[in-house]
């Protein structure tokens, strides 16, 4: 096994045991980038020389017995909405030409302090306002979409060109590409991971979190990222925690855990192979001792309306100045949404804000009855790059972006944590994801359940990039 193939957990163990040096690991991943990145286009920029210098420093520290954290010497990518001091935050947009971040975002600073090694910045759908990331190809089939908006991060992790990465998630943008590329994506509780220094799509829906090869890896990254930041108004004063499954809870036994299985919404207009794979994974949870409880998802008629009512005017507000000074620099799909967003009345925005409050209350009641909810992450696997709609067996036609946001949006609106875990491949060899949703700040429960499920499965291999 080459170092680039190692999970974060395995690489960290090897570095700690002095069986692997950060230099060997970073060199291996950079070689992998050189080989497969031309097929994938996951990165906006790769800063190889800086990464090699950081790896050498990390190796010297490791040799002297100074390990800063489990992320010490681990190479990673950051979605290019995340500020790194002195670097351009391109947002994968011409609008940002010449941009230079003055300071590290909170997450970049925390990763740096933890000893992680930055490889480069990964592609996003322009300003995170879309679900495909058209610049980037799916890691499993380059004719299929990467998913978005954190497409570059998910593809890099799936293809071995980053040991882990960060994404952002406003309507599924961590979980959707994670599911479509067969990797783990965690959208934490709203505010748990600070958004300071990250380009916003929609302040009241934005989240930032890890994309990793395994659930245990996600727990390691979350343990470094989470923690109060007074500069993010959503940041809770919760103490920092260790989220590793072995620390946060019991092992693989899920006895006593109540898993909610939705009878509405989450299995409607879902591809048959996706449904079968997710239900099979839910059966595995039951076999581990969990009790399955049928649940009714509340207020489903208002989910899309609330998501759009919040996101559309907030995104337009963020882009107010550049939409006036340089509208031609935006891609057509993003520009039209920003312009049309200008026409939403404040009353409709307030309806969405108040509907969010009602939805949070209804979900809190739902999560009184179960510990987690298990559901598909995305209703279909990655579509072809030129496909704009999905036609369901009953004849309903849905845009790809509407379909991909549909099952993700409730966790953005309510702020509850959601973890996407790979649960197999469809007949075309494309990955399928299951999401686990839980109570606010109960990431530990989701990670425990996801990890227990993973233990029942063979170790996943990297995407077979040609």
């Amino acid at each position: 096994m080459q170092p680039f193939e190692l999970s974060l957990t395995a690489a960290a163990d090897a570095i700690r045991a002095r069986q692997l040096s950060p230099v060997e690991l970073v060199d291996s991943v950079l070689d992998r980038i050189e080989k497969v990145e031309p097929h994938l286009h996951a990165y906006v920029t790769v800063t190889a020389e800086q990464a090699r210098r950081a790896a050498l420093e990390a190796a010297n520290d490791a040799a002297a017995g100074r390990l800063r954290s489990p992320l010490h010497g681990i190479p990673m990518g950051l979605k290019d909405l995340i500020d790194v001091a002195g670097a351009t935050t391109s947002a994968s947009s011409r609008v940002r030409a010449g941009h230079r971040a003055e300071a590290d975002s909170t997450v970049a600073a925390r990763l740096s302090t933890a000893g992680a090694v930055l490889l480069g910045k990964t592609h996003t759908h322009e300003f995170a306002y879309g679900l495909t990331t058209p610049q980037t190809n799916n890691a499993w089939n380059r004719d299929r979409i990467a998913g978005g908006s954190s497409g570059g991060s998910a593809v890099a992790v799936a293809a071995g060109t980053a040991t882990f990465a960060l994404g952002t998630d406003t309507g599924g943008s961590i979980r959707v590409p994670a599911a479509l590329n067969g990797v783990v994506g965690l959208k934490p509780t709203y505010g748990l991971v600070p958004r300071t220094g990250i380009t916003s799509l929609s302040w009241s829906l934005d989240h930032v979190g890890p994309i990793t090869r395994t659930v245990e890896d996600a727990a390691l990254v979350l343990s470094v990222l989470a923690g109060h930041d007074p500069r993010d108004p959503a940041s809770p004063a919760a103490p920092r925690a260790d989220y590793r499954p072995g620390v946060a809870g019991a092992g693989a036994d899920l006895a006593g855990l109540r898993v909610g299985v939705p009878r509405n919404y989450y299995f409607d207009h879902v591809d048959a192979e996706v449904e079968a794979a997710v239900r099979h994974a839910i059966d595995q949870l039951q076999a581990l001792g969990a009790q399955l409880v049928e649940v009714e998802i509340p207020m489903t008629r208002y989910i899309q309306a609330t998501q759009w009512g919040l996101m559309v005017p907030e995104a337009t507000a963020y882009h107010e100045q550049t939409l006036r000074t340089a509208p031609e620099l935006y891609q057509a799909d993003v520009r039209i949404l920003l312009e049309a967003g200008q026409l939403m009345p404040a009353g409709d925005y307030l309806h969405a804000q108040r509907a969010r409050t009602l939805m949070q209350q209804a979900w809190a009641r739902l999560l009184d009855d179960v510990d987690v909810i298990a559901a598909p992450t995305v209703p279909a696997t990655a579509v072809a790059a030129d496909e704009e709609t999905i036609t369901w067996p009953d004849g309903t036609v849905e845009s790809v972006s509407d379909a991909f946001v549909r099952l993700s949006a409730p966790a953005n609106i309510t702020g509850v944590p959601s973890l996407s875990v790979p649960v197999g491949l469809d007949a075309a060899g494309l990955p399928i994801g299951m999401q686990l949703l839980g109570r606010p700040l109960e990431e530990g429960v989701l990670l425990r359940v996801g990890h227990a499920y993973e233990q029942t499965q063979p170790v996943r291999e990297l995407a077979p990039v040609a």
């Binding site: 809770p236 309306a305 026409l343």
Partner: protein
């Protein structure tokens, strides 16, 4: 076209009123997209919000009320 939809000329006027002058070749597309967004979001007008406050920046999990969800039409029942 239903009564609550914007014509391209109305969309241009609304945009100008918000400080975003639109070139003439954008009026049709912006009106169509704005009307689609409106058709999605307008469903929220069914809800009876009572005294429910908005949640602009919130701390997830801190609020836990037990009010039932009602629509405006429920109120008249």
């Amino acid at each position: 076209m239903s009564a609550d939809e914007l014509t391209p000329a109305q969309a241009a006027r609304w945009a100008a009123r918000t400080g975003l002058p639109l070139p003439a070749d954008r009026h049709d597309a912006v009106a169509a997209t704005a009307n689609h967004i409106h058709s999605v979001v307008a469903v929220l007008r069914e809800l009876d919000f009572g005294d429910t406050p908005p949640a602009f920046a919130y701390h997830a999990g801190e609020e836990k009320h037990h009010a039932a969800v009602r629509t405006v039409s429920d109120r008249s029942r």
